[in-house]
Symmetry: C2
Subunit: 199 residues, 2 copies
């Protein structure tokens, strides 16, 4: 009725953000086109002026998350610090992200999301592999500097590193916010650092 008319680009961003918010609040499976439209302040059919369908809306939301993750990793790597310190910062930043926007682990781990279309899974998989690869490189640099044992397999350690934040993120959701992600991560880091020093 009294709805303002806005350009497609603005609407697309609004819709993607509304989708993210709804996923965080209700879970991916409980997000309907109607709910997204309502949150944007528009009628359901209006969404189809800006997206071909629901799939494209979800893709846009995922892309938004991946971009933010990428930006965060870039920021950490740009800092001037020893590699292990950069890793610690990375862990810290991810813990903050998980605490602030719970929708992020929700959609990235929501496996149902990937069954519908394989290319979507591959897209996220490539994103994770890129992330793991950069972590592994940081570990290798630490090894070159003598901060980590050469015997450690950097790729294996990088997956382990990811587990440092992923599992607490899951615990947080399961406990309905009771689990203290930041505390867990802060205490787990020295253990991980110790693991890298084994001979």
């Amino acid at each position: 009725m009294a709805t303002k008319k806005l350009g497609t680009q603005i609407r697309q961003e609004q819709i993607a953000q509304a989708t993210l918010d709804l996923i965080a609040a209700k879970g991916l499976a409980n997000v309907s086109v109607a709910a997204v439209a309502r949150r944007v302040g528009v009628v359901p059919s209006a969404l189809y002026r800006h997206f071909a369908g629901k799939d494209e809306v979800l893709d846009a939301a995922v892309e938004m998350i991946l971009n933010r993750l990428q930006a965060n990793v870039d920021a950490v790597v740009a800092e001037e610090a020893p590699p292990l310190e950069q890793l610690r910062r990375l862990l810290e930043m991810h813990a903050d992200m998980v605490c602030k926007n719970r929708g992020i682990p929700l959609i990235l781990l929501s496996q149902d999301f990937y069954f519908a279309r394989a290319d979507r899974r591959q897209r996220v998989h490539r994103g994770m592999r890129a992330y793991l690869s950069r972590v592994a490189n940081l570990i290798r640099r630490a090894q070159q500097l003598g901060h980590a044992a050469p015997a450690v397999n950097a790729d294996v350690a990088s997956v382990m590193f990811l587990g440092l934040i992923q599992t607490p993120g899951i615990m947080q959701h399961m406990s309905d916010g009771q689990f203290d992600v930041r505390s867990q991560v802060a205490q787990a880091w020295p253990l991980f650092e110790g693991a890298l020093r084994i001979v």
Copy 2:
């Protein structure tokens, strides 16, 4: 038509297992009552002879998983071995479970599953906490025997331990089975053991 009649208890087990299989194959959101019934070899409405509704079917599938996890811990604890060796065995068994039935991480991590009903989330949360608690106890015993550093927080380490298997499970699914869970876990264990020895 030519369907044999079986007792409710047998059917309930069949239905729960079929649900697990389907979740592994198609994802939780894509599992319908009709699909479960078809896999059991029965007509959809027949399910309602043995379960009140779809929710109860899903609950039964989750219960089956939680029971298996507990059984794993029971089996490992029953063995005569040092606590750290028991932990290693537990990790190995868990990895086997994840490899054999990919539906396990899928349903446990499928967050949408929990949004519908809070009691369901609490049930799984209690199950995970029980699991983590027993892991932490094994770590404490290792500390008493001098196999692990007393400074290590056993609860923090137990979450870390869970991450050793959880993240590889996710990677396995994302990579469509490419990721080698057993290899990752086998190589990550010595690192984790090293982490427990830090001072």
